[in-house]
C-alpha cells in the first residue's frame, strides 16, 4: 500500500510538472504569436531594419520579477553590416521586448549601439552587468520612441519620454552596483551618434539562369540618430557620423516581368511552390518556375558581390507515387531545395566565384541530393514534361507544411 501511494504521488507530481511545462510552453508560444503578429518590421522608416533585419520568434525568453513580466525574442541582420569605429563595437544588435507592469503592456524594438570597451550585448535586458551602450528604441510599428542609455548595466531614460519609463525600470530591476563599478569615474556626458544609411538600388534583368544586365538605378539616403554615453577615457567623437550602406535588388526578366525583391532571395523555399500531380501510372511531378536565391561573394579586390542564381524556366521534380503522397512530396522537395541552396552558399559564400560555377554546382547538387531524400526522385532543368508550372514561393521562416 505504501509503495502504491509513493508511486501515485510520484505519478501525479510528474503529471503536474508536465502539465506546468505544457502550460508554460503554451504561454510562450502564445506570446511569440502575439509578438509575431504585432511586430511590423516592414513599416520601419529605418531601411536597414525594414529590409535587412529578421526576428526569431522560436526562442522566447520570459522572466518575471517584482511586478514586471518581461518577454524577449532576438533579432538579427540577414546581411551583417560591420563597420570600423574606435568608439563602438563593429556590429549593431537587435532585440524585441514586451514588458507588462501594473496592467500596462509596452513593446519595444531595440537597436543596440554597444561601446567598444563594453561587454558584448547578451541578447537580454536582464543581464546587463558590465554593459554600456545606447539603445535606439522603436515601437513594434516602427515609431522611434527615443534613446535609453545603459552604463555598466544601469539604464537612464535620456529622451525623457514616458513610453520609455517601463523599459528603463525593467532594466534597472536587474542592476546591482558592485564595488568595482562604483570606483569608475562618473562619465555623465553623452553625445549624438548620427547614422547615414545609404541604399544602392539595382535592377537585375535575367533570361534563364543567365543575368543579362545589372542596372544601377540610384541611391536612397536616410538619416537616424541615437544618444550614446561619452566613453570615460574621452575617446568619443562628438556628433560622430557612422555610415551604413546596403544594396537593394529588384529582379526582372527580359520581358520586363517583375520577379521580386532580392531580399526574398534569402528566404527558404516554401512547400507551396510544389504542386505534385500524377504523371503517368507510377509517377507524380511538379514543375516549378522562377526558383531563385542569392550567394554573397567577394571580388578579387575584396568588394562584396551579390550573385543571383535564378531559374525562370520550370524545373521538373518527379517522384514515384508509391513512395509518398503529394503533400509530403512537396514538404520533402522544399527541404531538399533549401538544403541544396545552403550547400551552394556554404561552399561559395564569401569567395570569388562566377555565376556559371554557381549555376553548374547548384544543378549538380540538386540532381544528386533529390533522390537521396526521396528514393527514385528525379530533377530535370530542361524537361519536356507538359505539366503546368507553378511559381516559386519563398517563406519567411521555414519551408512550411503542405501535408
Amino acid at each position: 500500500m505504501y509503495k502504491f501511494i509513493k508511486y501515485s504521488v510520484f505519478t501525479f507530481t510528474a503529471l503536474f510538472l508536465l502539465s506546468c511545462q505544457n502550460d508554460e510552453l503554451e504561454n510562450k508560444q502564445e506570446n511569440a504569436k502575439v509578438a509575431k503578429t504585432n511586430l511590423e518590421l516592414a513599416k520601419f522608416s529605418n531601411l536597414n531594419i525594414a529590409q535587412n533585419v529578421e526576428a526569431d520568434f522560436e526562442k522566447v525568453n520570459e522572466i518575471e520579477k517584482d511586478n514586471f513580466k518581461i518577454s524577449e525574442f532576438s533579432a538579427k541582420e540577414k546581411i551583417v553590416n560591420t563597420f570600423e569605429s574606435n568608439v563602438l563595437q563593429n556590429q549593431l544588435k537587435y532585440q524585441g521586448v514586451t514588458i507588462e507592469n501594473e496592467g500596462k503592456s509596452q513593446s519595444y524594438f531595440l537597436e543596440v549601439y554597444t561601446l567598444a570597451k563594453s561587454a558584448a550585448y547578451p541578447q537580454t535586458i536582464t543581464k546587463l552587468k558590465g554593459f554600456t551602450a545606447g539603445l535606439n528604441v522603436y515601437s513594434f510599428t516602427g515609431e522611434n520612441l527615443g534613446s535609453v542609455l545603459v552604463r555598466n548595466g544601469e539604464a537612464k531614460n535620456i529622451s525623457g519620454k514616458e513610453e520609455l519609463d517601463i523599459l528603463t525600470k525593467a532594466i534597472n530591476l536587474f542592476y546591482a552596483p558592485s564595488d568595482i563599478t562604483s570606483k569608475i569615474p562618473l562619465c555623465d556626458a553623452t553625445y549624438t551618434q548620427t547614422v547615414w544609411l545609404t541604399q544602392d538600388v539595382w535592377r537585375i534583368i535575367s533570361n534563364g539562369p543567365k543575368i543579362l544586365e545589372v542596372i544601377y538605378v540610384g541611391e536612397k539616403v536616410t538619416k537616424s540618430t541615437t544618444i550614446l554615453p561619452y566613453p570615460c577615457d574621452g575617446s568619443g567623437d562628438v556628433e560622430a557620423i557612422k555610415l551604413q550602406r546596403i544594396a537593394h535588388y529588384a529582379h526582372y526578366n527580359q520581358n520586363g516581368q517583375y520577379l521580386g525583391e532580392s531580399s526574398t532571395l534569402d528566404y527558404p523555399p516554401s512547400c507551396e511552390s510544389f504542386n505534385f500531380t500524377p504523371d503517368g501510372s507510377f509517377w507524380q511531378a511538379a514543375m516549378v518556375k522562377n526558383i531563385n536565391f542569392r550567394v554573397i561573394g567577394v571580388s578579387p579586390t575584396g568588394v562584396r558581390v551579390i550573385h543571383v542564381v535564378s531559374y525562370p524556366q520550370a524545373i521538373y521534380f518527379g517522384l514515384p507515387t508509391n513512395v509518398i503522397n503529394p503533400g509530403l512530396a512537396a514538404n520533402k522537395s522544399a527541404r531538399v531545395l533549401m538544403e541544396t541552396m545552403q550547400e551552394v552558399i556554404d561552399k561559395y559564400g564569401g569567395t570569388d566565384v562566377s555565376d556559371l560555377v554557381l549555376d553548374q554546382y547548384f544543378r549538380e547538387r540538386l540532381k544528386r541530393n533529390y533522390p537521396l531524400s526521396v528514393s527514385g526522385g528525379r530533377v530535370n532543368f530542361n524537361s519536356p514534361s507538359t505539366i503546368p508550372a507553378t511559381n516559386y514561393i519563398a517563406n519567411v521562416w521555414t519551408p512550411g507544411n503542405c501535408n
Binding site: G318, R363, K367, P371, L372
Partner: protein
C-alpha cells in the same frame, strides 16, 4: 578505352541526337531534327508497345527472391528516358540503400546504381531498429547486385555497360538539361540521372 566500341557507340549516338544544336537555346531547331524525331519515336514506340510486358517479365524473374521480389518498375518515359528503370530498397547496417537497375531500350546494356539514402528522413531510430530486426536477408548489397547482374546477363543476354564509358563525354551533343560538354554516353543510352563513380 576500347577505340572500336567508342566509335561504334558514337555513331549510334549521332543517329539519335543532333550534333551542335543546343537543347536549351535552339529548341525549335532541335525538335525538328531527324535525329531527335528518331529518338522520340523509338521511346514512344517502346513505351506504347513493350513497356508493361517487358517490365513485368524482368520483375517475374525475381519473384522467388525474398528481397528482389520487391523490385518495382518505375520507368519514366514521360520525360524521355532511354531506359527501363527498376528499383528495390534494402536496409543493411542501419542504412537504407536503393538499388536501381537501368536497362537501355537502345542497346542491350544495363547499369546498376546503388545509392545510400538519408535514412533519417525516412525512419526514426526505433523504426530503423525494428526494420533491422525484421530483416532476414543475409546477403550484403554487393552480393545482391551480383545476383541481379547474373539474372540479367543469363536470362536476358544484356551486358553491363562498361564503367569507363559511363562518364565519357560527347562534346558536340546537348540534350534536355545536359549542355555541351556535359552529355555522356550514359546519358545517351539511359537517362539524366547522375551516376556515382564505382571507384
Amino acid at each position: 578505352m576500347n577505340n572500336m566500341i567508342d566509335k561504334v557507340l558514337k555513331n549510334l549516338v549521332y543517329l539519335l541526337y543532333p550534333r551542335n544544336i543546343c537543347a536549351y537555346k535552339d529548341k525549335d531547331e532541335y525538335f525538328i531534327s531527324d535525329e531527335y524525331k528518331r529518338l522520340a519515336k523509338l521511346i514512344a514506340d517502346f513505351d506504347n508497345e513493350n513497356r508493361v510486358g517487358v517490365g513485368k517479365t524482368f520483375i517475374e524473374k525475381f519473384e522467388n527472391d525474398k528481397t528482389l521480389k520487391n523490385f518495382q518498375d518505375l520507368s519514366l518515359f514521360n520525360i524521355e528516358d532511354r531506359c527501363m528503370t527498376l528499383h528495390v530498397t534494402v536496409i543493411e547496417g542501419r542504412q537504407l540503400y536503393t538499388i536501381s537497375l537501368f536497362l537501355s531500350i537502345i542497346l542491350p546494356y544495363y547499369v546498376v546504381d546503388v545509392r545510400k539514402n538519408k535514412i533519417e528522413l525516412y525512419f526514426s531510430e526505433s523504426e530503423i531498429t525494428n526494420l533491422e530486426n525484421e530483416n532476414t536477408e543475409t546477403r550484403n548489397i554487393k552480393e545482391l547486385v551480383s545476383e541481379i547482374s547474373t539474372v540479367i546477363e543469363t536470362e536476358f543476354m544484356y551486358k553491363k555497360f562498361p564503367n569507363e564509358l559511363v562518364n565519357y563525354v560527347i562534346e558536340d551533343i546537348s540534350f534536355q538539361d545536359s549542355e555541351f560538354g556535359y552529355f555522356t554516353m550514359y546519358n545517351a543510352f539511359f537517362n539524366n540521372v547522375i551516376i556515382e563513380d564505382e571507384s
